[in-house]
Symmetry: C2
Subunit: 261 residues, 2 copies
Amino acid sequence: MSDLSYPKSKTNKVNRLGERGKYDCKTVHSIIASSPVLHVSFTPSPEEFPVILPMIGKLGSFENPSADLSEPLDLYLHGYVSSRIMNLARKQDSSLKVCVCATKVDGLVLSLTPNSHSMNYRSSIIFGTASLVTELEEKIYAMKLITDGVLKGRYENTRVPPDGAEMASTQILRVSVESASAKVRAGEPGDYDKDLKREELLDTVWTGVIPMYTTYGEPQPSHYNKVKEVPEYISTYIKDTGDAEKEYAVAAITMDEAGAA
Amino acid sequence: MSDLSYPKSKTNKVNRLGERGKYDCKTVHSIIASSPVLHVSFTPSPEEFPVILPMIGKLGSFENPSADLSEPLDLYLHGYVSSRIMNLARKQDSSLKVCVCATKVDGLVLSLTPNSHSMNYRSSIIFGTASLVTELEEKIYAMKLITDGVLKGRYENTRVPPDGAEMASTQILRVSVESASAKVRAGEPGDYDKDLKREELLDTVWTGVIPMYTTYGEPQPSHYNKVKEVPEYISTYIKDTGDAEKEYAVAAITMDEAGAA
């Protein structure tokens, strides 16, 4: 077995409920890859509040474009020239420390007592340094990666490549990943023995899991759309992605607590 | 009109696309209140990476329990005695600066060119100082707030109140909100005039919005559950919440860009 993993360190180690921690690239990267939005945190200065920005980003490797999610990858984030994080990355000369987190909630876990309630979820966290992508070729690579990451096949089905003005107004941050980990909770509720022995509780409190997942609705054409049918790459993508989300949320209920089938 | 708003400052001002910024308590708080998971960021020390934790939290006021989402509120976060953020809050003597962010993705916005693609979303960000709740009464208030915030009516339908051991192993962080704002994107795609004039583009590229929303699946009883029917407060909650999510995502398509109907 040659699955690549992030080494455990003080930075990425899952302390609380360590058995739920995962360090292999495939698990960590898959959660990031399937999240429509990422939360990116940075600290403007030691006196200020940390800041979280919701951003769109996807994992890839410009040097090794055929690399898959089980291999080392960079994270490309999409943003705007004038935004605060872009200005900081520019100023700090490639050394802006960021933390990126993606979380998917798969279900509400309802137990006998409030304190043992939980959620089934998958969460990944990446620590790395962000720098601006300056090479045009890498910027175009990242634009395609991000556009197709949001909806597979979309890039080549639009007006491409982006022109000079578009590339100038778009900035891409490349996060070199220094450390990362994931945390997964799955399975049934877990209750204390003291409560499981109380018949009157078991007779009155419903316990179980309510699966939760993201669904795509009917595509709504814009007022200037002239393409009559929704293209197949779109309908296939939203059906497959929606089905996979639902399947995982339901399957998670019968996994063990750490997410093993 | 007496709607309370957070004052704009350097910390909370929405710079990029400022017309999408919202500062009224009701908008900012509603997004936080309807998000199953919050992303909480803190900086362990100036030399270290910022950290993001996914946490469960709800807004409320122990002093003024009847306050609604349009009024000033504290944010209560649920955690564990031994966790890193709890230890930091304890050490830093009530002065741990945190940033809390909640984001709901309402749709994929597909336009003619990759650069003008977007998402419909609602995002709130709160800046504040986190401190440990030490009073038992306030801790129980927060446990009820959080349990009912995740599933309305759940607290009183479980074995309550939590006993001494349970209260000792659970920690609650209270975030005093210093500043906050929200950012909302809704509506159709927006394309450049230069592209809208090109008939061959309009004839080949499908443009529009694919709504996205969270759905609840069929509740699955635990292996020790003895309550035959899913109680009505549960089935009503998941139906109403799921319907509201879907309705908003679809309605957002016909709103203007800043989310006005």
